[in-house]
């Protein structure tokens, strides 16, 4: 199974998108979700999720509350806020702009 590191700067985008389905997830679930959604191509260095989540908490893009997992363990669940949803749009459009630019470069080269 070949796995790619995620491009720098897109971690926020991936987390936001993952949470955008309206569900509340804890960190491990977010990591797994990213991996599954990308059909195992993208792999996050899992620990780096947590500093990113902290930053998003500060920015107010997500909120967190403690809950209990299916296995009956204490976990912190993250939920997208209105500001986070707006940020997702910003990140997506930014990402698309960059991707378009890059693919133009690749095609013409």
């Amino acid at each position: 199974m070949h796995q790619d590191e995620i491009p720098p700067g897109t971690l926020y985008l991936l987390i936001l998108k993952t949470l955008a389905r309206g569900v509340e997830l804890h960190g491990y679930e977010i990591a797994n979700a990213i991996q599954q959604l990308s059909e195992d191509v993208l792999q996050v260095e899992e620990g780096s999720l947590y500093p990113a989540l902290q930053r998003m908490l500060i920015r107010g893009w997500v909120t967190a509350k403690w809950g209990v997992t299916a296995g009956n363990r204490r976990a912190r669940y993250y939920k997208l806020t209105k500001a986070g949803r707006k940020q997702l749009e910003v990140e997506v459009s930014q990402f698309e702009r960059v991707m378009q630019a890059i693919s133009r470069v690749i095609q013409t080269a």
Partner: protein, 931 residues
């Protein structure tokens, strides 16, 4: 901003909304961050819990996918990344990282330093010396050279000096100008807002409640107080009426005089005081800060009185230049008035020049080069101190290499480690700065104990806010200089390399340690130079204390007496100029006062003998005149002998302990009616025509005596030589004349009438000051009696420069030695740290403790000997520079050099011993197992 506000502002336009939102967002972030700071511990726990859950879930999944428990555990950890760093990064997200980290680092540093009190003390003392000395120096520079003078428009205040190319007396560039010339310059010059004049200063005697007091007296032009913005601390300034000729005499007292001699009594206002025999009305007291224009007639007189000028004196000038006019431009403009101040005399106008410079610079010219040189030297000391502390730190970091590597391995980032090491440096620098501040205040106290007038503006020297700012800067610089390099080096090694103990130090490490070894050798040579100078100075001082002066130093007390109506120096100058006494004086002060008092002093208990003389030994002043020896015709100029002339009483030689070689001393019978007699010293006798008995020869004292007066003296005696004036020189030719044989019509009488020195020889040490003052109060009321000192003290004062030189070089040498000690210790410790493993190998291969000890000591000795050799060579080469300061010792004195060599070598060995013993104690098993 509330939501409602936001809604309202939406109407104003989208820009406002965006800005408003930004602010709201920023504020709410701040609130969240602050909440996080408060709940810091919970936050950290939450983060840990969350991360643990993640790892465990992953581990569980790994097991489910078929791994062994162990594989699953490590796979989960690997996939998660470096947990410590991630935790730290997350924590720092909240933005309070530094606030959390700094106290932590400082606490950690304090713990570390407590474990190593020797290192801490050494580093702090080293830094304290460097920082303290520089702080003190900066205080002096700031107070003396930088701060504006305490006057209005001080930054535009310039001194105007007038030089004559053919001037022979005093400072050729500082000549007073007459009142008319002053008025001319003031009205015609356009460069100045105003020009002020203060008379060339003179001393006089003021009658205080405690009796006569010698003071410096100066008169000021009417615009001085306003222009400089000086307000009396008591009473009123002079008003315009006071400056008119013929007005009632008024005076402003100096604050010091008022405090010390009038008991700060406010009732002194409106009282009459007698100054130089004339009553003056006291109208006010001027602050002591008003101390412009070198008012220093007598070095030891610091009390002052100020009189309003009435246009009959000569002035020294200062001015306020107009805004935008440079001193140079003002000087050029004044140059065009040369003819006017010379009374249209072309010859004079050609030789005159104006010198316009900022007053502050003129006041401080004498000390500026010395202060700047000292600053340079002290900055060097600070640099050396920093280098030494840096060496000490590096040695310690080397010893802590393992610890640092472990920290890096378990997740400390390089920045974090660097920060921690720098925090250590900062703690040392702050402690050093605090200790340095104490050291600086001691130094400043020492500066205040220098003789008055030694440093201009000395009473303004104190610690001020800019000095503290400078101290902070110095401490920061010291931190960076002393800690950055070691910290960078210590944190650069990759952890695995250090853990594997790659030994030996990298190439750069070795290059650096070679550099610090050179540095230490340099420190040794610097202290060798300083120690040699200090040794020579000490030798000089010892010689000066034990010279045969041909005088009784300890048992003779000298003091000065000034008549209440002394005409002063200016009076004497005026008399000399006109060639006559201004007023007829019927009876000489000598027979009227001086002589009866001599007799009364002789009666005091404990007194062996009493005499008086116009000059006192070691005062640095003396009356020189040309003497015409027998056989030199009156018309001939060459062949005259420059000799010191001293008017004395008969007991002079006996009191001072000067032996009579031939003939007789001046006696009481040599008075006004009898033939003029002279007693000469041996040096002068040798200059007379050889082969003749000097007794009975005639010498003349031709200079400046009116032709009508007799000036033919018969030599009646020869005295032994006494070294009296410039202590380091052989005696000058000297002529003693009878104090009774100066007629009151002779201008030289003014010298005698302006004051005299008494010499009292006592049996052992007797405190006679009060008894003597009592005698004068009764027999010569109003006379100023002061400057009591034994000849020993006078000698000490005269050799003050040598002593100051000794103190300075000795303190620098002391600092240099301390630097050598810390330097050697630091470098060798560093060396031992680097060669740890090598030493282990050597020992494993059979080297004994002793041979290792010797190896390190040898390393230290090489540095010390190299430095010493360089230093001694430099001292030999530079020794001639010292020659002017030395007395009775050659700049190449072998004993001094030998002593310095022995002292420095033994100190160096001492400093090397500690690291050497540590090296000898290396356990080969431990050192090798570190691999």
């Amino acid at each position: 901003m509330t939501r409602k506000d936001e809604g309202r502002s939406a109407k104003d336009g989208s820009g406002t909304i965006r800005a408003g939102r930004c602010v709201v967002e920023w504020l709410s972030q701040l609130v969240r961050r602050f909440a996080a700071l408060v709940r810091r511990n919970k936050l950290n726990r939450d983060l840990e819990d969350e991360m643990r859950l993640h790892r465990e879930l992953r581990e569980q999944q790994n097991v489910e996918s078929g791994m062994t428990a162990e594989e699953a555990y490590y796979a989960a950890r690997r996939r998660f990344g470096n947990e410590t760093i991630l935790k730290e990064v997350s924590r720092e997200m909240w933005g309070w990282g530094l606030a959390e980290r700094l106290p932590q680092d400082v606490r950690y540093t304090l713990r570390q330093l407590r474990k190593n009190p020797g290192f801490a003390a050494l580093a702090i003392i080293t830094l304290a010396l460097g920082i303290g000395a520089n702080t003190a120096m900066f205080t002096v520079i700031d107070s003396v050279l930088i701060r504006p003078l305490p006057f209005r428009n001080a930054n535009r205040l310039v001194s105007i000096r007038i030089g004559y190319l053919d001037s022979h007396f005093g400072d050729p560039d500082q000549n007073p100008v007459s009142w008319p010339a002053y008025r001319e310059l003031r009205t015609r010059s356009h460069s100045f807002e105003d020009i002020i004049g203060i008379s060339s200063s003179d001393w006089t005697v003021i009658q205080t409640p405690q009796g006569g007091q010698k003071v410096v007296r100066a008169t000021i032009t009417a615009n001085v107080l306003d222009t400089l913005g000086i307000h009396p601390v008591l009473g009123r300034p002079f008003d315009s009426k006071d400056y008119q000729s013929g007005a009632a005499p008024v005076v402003l007292l100096g604050a010091e005089l008022w405090r010390d001699h009038f008991g700060s009594d406010p009732l002194v206002l409106g009282r009459q005081v007698r100054i130089g025999g004339t009553p003056y009305l006291v109208v006010g007291v001027l602050p002591d800060s008003f101390d412009l224009l070198d008012v220093q007639a007598e070095a030891d007189v610091t009390s002052r009185v100020w009189l309003p000028s009435r246009g009959d004196e000569d002035f020294e000038l200062a001015g306020i230049v107009r805004p935008g006019v440079s001193p140079q431009a003002a000087q050029a403009e004044l140059g065009t008035f040369a003819l006017d101040i010379c009374g249209q005399n072309l010859q004079c106008a050609k030789s005159v020049k104006f010198i316009v410079k900022p007053s502050r610079d003129v006041m401080t010219t004498s000390v500026r080069p010395a202060l700047l040189a000292l600053t340079g030297a002290l900055f060097l000391v600070l640099l050396i101190a920093c280098v030494n502390v840096s060496n000490l730190q590096l040695a310690r970091h080397l010893a802590r290499r393992q610890e640092l590597a472990v920290r890096a391995a378990i997740g400390a980032g390089r920045g974090r480690l660097l920060g921690q090491l720098m925090a250590e440096g900062a703690v040392l620098a702050v402690a050093g700065a605090a200790a340095g501040l104490g050291f600086a205040s001691i130094l400043i106290a020492a500066v205040h104990r220098l003789p008055p007038n030694f440093i201009p503006r000395a009473d303004e020297i104190k610690l001020r806010v800019p000095v503290f700012a400078m101290l902070a800067i110095i401490a920061a610089v010291a931190t960076v200089l002393s800690s950055l390099a070691p910290a960078l080096l210590a944190t650069r090694t990759a952890p695995e390399e250090a853990l594997r103990e790659a030994s030996g130090g990298s190439i750069t490490g070795r290059r650096r340690s070679r550099l610090s070894q050179w540095m230490v050798a340099g420190e040794v040579s610097l202290s060798a130079v300083l120690l040699v100078s200090a040794g020579l100075m000490f030798h000089t001082l010892y010689n000066l204390q034990h010279i045969h002066f041909g005088l009784d130093l300890d048992e003779v007390t000298a003091f000065e007496v000034t008549p209440a109506n002394a005409p002063g120096y200016l009076g004497w100058l005026a008399a000399r100029k006109s060639g006559t006494a201004p007023q007829a004086i019927t009876e000489s002060v000598v027979t009227r006062v001086y002589q009866p008092i001599l007799d009364r002093l002789r009666q005091l208990p404990g007194v062996v003998d009493v005499a008086l003389g116009s000059w006192a030994p070691f005062d640095g002043t003396a009356g020189f005149a040309m003497i015409r020896p027998p056989g030199v015709p009156e018309t001939q100029q060459h062949g005259l002998i420059a000799a010191q002339i001293c008017y004395v009483s008969p007991g002079y030689a006996r009191t001072m302990g000067i032996p009579l070689i031939k003939g007789r001393m001046i006696s009481d019978q040599d008075s006004t009616g009898t033939p003029l007699v002279a007693v000469v010293n041996e040096t002068l006798a040798r200059r007379l025509p050889p082969g003749q008995d000097p007794i009975g020869e005639h010498i003349a004292h031709p200079s400046r005596t009116p032709p009508t007066m007799k000036n033919d003296y018969t030599i009646v005696g020869v005295l032994g030589d006494a070294r009296q004036h410039i202590v380091t020189q052989t005696p000058d030719p000297e002529v003693l004349l009878s104090y009774q044989q100066v007629p009151t019509s002779d201008p030289r009488y003014f010298l005698l009438a302006s004051g005299t020195n008494y010499f009292v020889k006592t049996r052992g040490h007797v405190q006679l000051t009060n008894a003597i003052r009592q005698v004068f109060r009764q027999s010569a009321p109003g006379y100023a009696v002061d400057h009591f000192r034994t000849l020993r003290i006078a000698l000490d004062d005269a050799t003050f420069n040598q002593r100051l030189g000794l103190y300075l070089t000795a303190s620098f040498a002391g600092i240099a030695i301390l630097m050598v000690l810390t330097g050697l210790y630091g470098v060798l410790s560093q060396l031992v740290g680097q060669r740890w493993r090598e030493i282990g190998v050597r020992m494993a291969l059979g080297a004994t403790n002793r041979s290792i000890l010797q190896m390190i000591l040898r390393q230290g000795s090489i540095l010390a000997v190299t430095g010493l050799a360089l230093g001694l060579i430099a001292s030999l080469a530079g020794g001639r520079l010292l020659r002017a300061f030395l007395y009775g010792v050659k700049p190449t004195d072998a004993w001094t050099y030998l002593g310095v060599a022995v002292v420095l070598l033994s100190l160096s060995i001492g400093a090397a011993l500690l690291p050497a013993r540590r090296a000898a104690k290396v356990d080969p098993m431990v050192a090798l197992r570190c691999e």
